[in-house]
């Protein structure tokens, strides 16, 4: 091979760049996050009533859109009532409805958000009582 030295250096740089994630992750067993559902409010509920505003599957993939719609409805349209697919009514409020049960931002919201590298801007306005320090 002509100019073997230069070409091999180039190829090594190329391969190291491509396999960057492999080197950094090598040998790590990373368990997926398990957001905790054991807040006092949830634990007090009877088992049958432990339900979110919508199904678990829906909330997993759509909660951000739901919250975005809620924000727009409540703040821009003044509509603070949400009827879910089962016909049950909820008050549209992140802090008073969602976080009444999910009061554990660190062990609930942040778990998956940190894992997936998502930094939602909910917390520019909203906060958890008693956790105003160390925010963001």
């Amino acid at each position: 091979m002509y100019d073997a030295g230069k070409i091999i250096i180039g190829l090594v740089i190329f391969v190291v760049f491509l396999t960057f994630a492999f080197w950094m992750d090598a040998g790590k067993a990373v368990p997926p996050p398990k957001p905790k559902l054991n807040t006092p409010v949830i634990m007090k509920m009877p088992k049958a009533e432990r339900k979110c505003v919508e199904s678990k599957e829906f909330m997993r993939t759509e909660h951000m859109q739901l919250l975005d719609t809620w924000r727009n409805e409540a703040l821009r349209e003044g509509n603070t009532e949400y009827i879910n697919t089962n016909g049950k009514m909820y008050i549209v409020s992140l802090q008073n409805t969602c976080m009444k049960c999910h009061s554990n931002k660190k062990d609930f919201c942040d778990k998956c958000h940190d894992y997936a590298g998502v930094k939602p801007y909910c917390w520019r306005c909203h906060f958890v009582k008693g956790q105003m320090k160390n925010w963001e």
């Binding site: 002509y2 994630a21 992750d25 997993r60 993939t61 998956c112 997936a116 590298g117 930094k119 939602p120």
Partner: protein, 333 residues
């Protein structure tokens, strides 16, 4: 090749990949093939194929010194050399390659030929340069951004890039600028091939296929993020599993994800065997990576071999008598 045939082959191939992934991922038991086996195979073929191609090029001799000279070469001290367009030193070559690789300098010199009053006139045209730059940098940022799905913890530069890319904070999940720019740039590059008659004439399936393929990769990614969402935590479980070499196949990931992965894997597999190898080829272009020392130094063709010389003196020695007999004059009696 007729444009309909070319387009048909390109679109048909991409559609086939989408359909295979769409139906395949819904067959119970086949998901690990699409989620684990295919990405690994594609990655190995990509790296292996890329190295193979580069080594093949490295083994090809460059018999002549052929740098493209677009400026004044180094000459008398009172004539100013254009060091970037006609480099005579390694530093100059590095400078030239830097601007070529990072800013597509040669595309910047693109001109457009037009007929005006029976004369052909050339005028500068920067659209292809702008489109290419937009496409390549958007794609690069998107690829780096994807590291957030492959790494735990996520490196700071990936997070920073993510924030910068989503700086407009439009919608939830936040709109990425590069998502839009990538599709716009690809649409331009695609329409350019169809709309300009000369481009249409020289375009082959191999020109349309990568454009359509990457467009569909972008489109499925956008669909997956903004419209038909998938559970990102399960997706990351799979991708981190791939990167840590402990692959797992979480349940409940939507079909759109498998279509996206199949398209990306196809791109990886296709890459080393296609025109996309210009990624490696740009570094190995003798027109650009050679310093113009054509006359300054002695350059010997690397495939020259020692030649047995038969001088005239030897020739005369061999045939002197016969030459004399035939009346041919000889230098020595």
């Amino acid at each position: 090749m007729d444009v309909k045939v070319s387009l048909g082959i390109a679109l048909g191939a991409v559609l086939a990949i989408i359909l295979i992934a769409f139906f395949g991922a819904q067959v119970p038991g086949l998901q690990p093939i699409f989620g684990i086996f295919l990405p690994y195979a594609a990655f190995v073929i990509f790296i292996g194929g890329f190295i193979y191609r580069v080594v093949q090029w490295g083994r090809s001799p460059v018999p002549f010194r052929i740098p493209t000279t677009c400026g004044q070469q180094k000459t008398l001290p009172w004539i100013k050399q254009n060091k970037l367009e006609c480099p005579s030193s390694t530093l100059g070559v590095i400078g030239r390659m830097f601007f070529e690789v990072f800013f597509f300098r040669s595309l910047f010199k693109h001109t457009k030929a037009e007929m005006a009053d029976g004369n052909i006139i050339y005028s500068p045209s920067k659209w292809i340069w702008a489109g290419a730059l937009l496409f390549h940098y958007s794609f690069l940022i998107i690829v780096i951004r994807h590291l957030r799905l492959f790494m735990v913890p996520i490196p700071g530069f990936v997070k920073g890039l993510d924030t910068l890319d989503g700086i407009l904070q439009v919608g939830v999940p936040g709109l990425y600028l590069t998502d839009v720019l990538l599709l716009v740039a690809l649409a331009y590059l695609f329409i350019r091939r169809l709309a300009v008659p000369k481009m249409r004439y020289i375009s082959l399936p191999a020109d349309y296929f990568p454009l359509v393929l990457i467009f569909c990769i972008g489109a499925t990614g956008i669909l997956m993020r903004y419209f038909i969402r998938v559970d990102i935590v399960s997706v990351k479980q799979l991708t981190v599993g791939l990167a840590s070499l402990h692959p797992v196949m979480p349940k409940g990931i939507g079909v759109i994800f498998f279509i996206h992965v199949a398209l990306v894997s196809s791109l990886f597999i296709y890459f080393p065997f296609s025109k996309l190898m210009h990624a490696g080829g740009v570094f190995l272009s003798p027109g650009r990576n050679l310093a113009n020392t054509n006359r300054e130094k002695m350059h010997v063709n690397p495939w020259n071999y020692p030649v047995d010389i038969h001088s005239y003196e030897d020739y005369e020695n061999d045939f002197r008598e016969k030459m004399k007999a035939a009346g041919i004059p000889v230098e020595r009696e």
